[in-house]
Amino acid sequence: MAQAAAVAKPPAPPRRRRASATPRRLPYLLIAPAALLMLGFIAYPVISVFYYSLQNYNPTKPWRNGYAGVGNFTHAFTQDPQFWDTLTFSAKWVVVEVGLQLLFGLALALIVNQTFAGRAFGRALVFSPWAVSGVLTSAIWVLLYNSQTGITRYLADAGIGSYGTSWLSDTSTVFSAAVVADLWRGVPFFAILILADLQSVSKDLYEAAEVDGASRVRQFLHITLPHLKDAIILSTLLRAVWEFNNVDLLYTLTGGGPAGETTTLPLYIANTSVDAHNFGYASALTTVAFVILLFCSIVYLRLSKFGGGDK
């Protein structure tokens, strides 16, 4: 949402009322530390990824190193079914996670935006998983899904399901199991951002709508939702990119398994570079991932008419 302000509105025009107070070099000095850090540790690595994507580069097989042209890319698109599998799984994962997180997050934000007894405490409780790491989330859900002492055992005690069920090692349940675990942590992110944005809806609008006899549903559709539009677009986009890139949870919860069933493209890339030492090919896959992300983001912003319309 801050980006909303940053993107949508050109920054305040410069006002140099006192020349002595605004030496020309000051802004450059101020952004220098950030710019240097980002040049050295983001821009340079990105450029080196682009460079290596055109190379055969594998430290364990130095005799094959050298310029590869687009060889890595043609290999990915034509001869590597794992690339397509992991890309498809990534897309499925992102769409399902972001969609459900938005839905539940929005509902949750609307609920805790009401006035009720114990609101502050209730908010603190429902938001608390936000602060929990991917690895800790995995640890918690490993305990819950554990086939011996996990929740299935007690469900089986109560006559639901059977003993020894392990949702994480069954290919038919592992996806839902991982989705639920990630939802647990992801919903509060949306709820917090949407709740923050709800604070700036003018109460007068609702009161005016009341006077006109608009129902609560119509108030939601015509006042709340349009107001939240930019925040929703931006938070879904940021979250989608984040869900696409984040490997903490799946790496530790399922390790991409069983049988590669939950391997996302970034997990596949990490395996290719770290375990198989195939840096050149991993770099090409990374480049493809960048391009896909960038393309999808631009299309999404265009289609959703971000920043336009109601303003």
Partner: protein
């Protein structure tokens, strides 16, 4: 709205006359606020169950003796904590994690504050390009840059030094933090600073005395973000710190999980140790977080 009114108006005695006719009117005019209670409590309760059962589960495993299948942590034991803190070196991991998280918080906030101020208050030639770079960097996943980053840190002889993780965490926190902080600064009227200059402050003093106090909620939000991220993040520490005495809590948790026979009690106790600092920070800053974000999001 209603309870808020009651809460704030009740102690202030001088306003009662207007209050009398209100309650009846409200029923008609404030339907938005008069959502039936069960519309709130029922879904909230269900969601709370979903949120809290996992927390309860990990507490249960951490506190009940090994081998127990009881659903209440009684008799209670701290054996798992003892074990994980000393035998599994979580004591050392904890120190490392605190160091990384605090250093990341300080560096991110300072660097982002400087850059955010420049973006909010100046117009300079590369500003648009710089803003664009900040936004684009949101799409650059740290996870995909592991190999080149590893090479850079190896070149700088920083592998196995906490500094590598601190720098990497800071760098990836910076763009968003800077964008947020410049938004917060933009919300502070420039005229306040100008007034301070007229009173004889230099630019830095004016900023420190006038602007900085107003940025408090925003800075708390940004700083706590940086802290929590650095505390939680796993991949950089896993890759750049191979020495066991340098590792962090998330890496320790992963080690516990990936061993052949997982010690569930130790895992749960380790998880509690991992959760406590962030949950405490979070409970403390929760209020500022909402105001911080909404302040940063004020439009137009």
């Amino acid at each position: 709205m209603i309870t808020k009114d009651a809460g704030t108006i009740a102690p202030a005695a001088p306003a009662p006359p207007v209050e009398v006719p209100r309650p009846r009117e409200r029923k008609k005019h404030r339907a938005w606020d008069e959502v039936p209670r069960w519309h709130i409590y029922l879904p909230l309760g269900i969601y709370l169950l979903f949120t809290l059962i996992p927390f309860y589960w990990i507490l249960l495993f951490a506190l009940r003796p090994a081998g127990s299948t009881s659903l209440v942590p009684w008799p209670m034991t701290l054996e798992h904590f003892d074990k994980v803190w000393t035998e599994r070196s979580f004591g050392i991991y904890f120190q490392n994690s605190v160091l990384i998280a605090v250093a990341t918080l300080v560096m991110t906030t300072l660097v982002a504050l400087a850059g955010g101020y420049a973006l909010a208050r100046f117009d300079f030639r590369i500003k648009r390009g710089f803003m664009l770079a900040l936004l684009c960097s949101q799409f650059v996943p740290g996870a995909l840059l592991l190999v080149p980053l590893f090479q850079i840190f190896a070149e700088l002889r920083m592998i196995n030094s906490l500094a590598s993780v601190i720098i990497a965490e800071t760098v990836f926190q910076l763009p968003l933090s800077m964008i947020l902080i410049s938004g917060f600064i933009r919300n502070v009227p420039y005229s306040l600073e100008e007034a301070a200059w007229v009173d004889g402050c230099n630019r830095f003093d004016a900023f420190r005395i006038v602007v900085l106090p107003l940025l408090r909620p925003g800075l708390i939000a940004v700083g706590s973000f940086a802290f929590v991220h650095a505390w939680n993040h796993f991949l950089f520490a896993l890759m750049f710190l191979s020495d066991q005495s340098k590792q962090t809590i998330p890496v320790g948790l992963n080690t516990l999980m990936s061993s052949d026979s997982v010690d569930l009690g130790a895992l749960a106790a380790g998880g509690i140790i991992a959760a406590v600092p962030v949950v405490v920070v979070f409970a403390f800053i929760q209020k500022w977080l909402i105001t911080g974000f909404s302040a940063g999001a004020v439009k137009g």
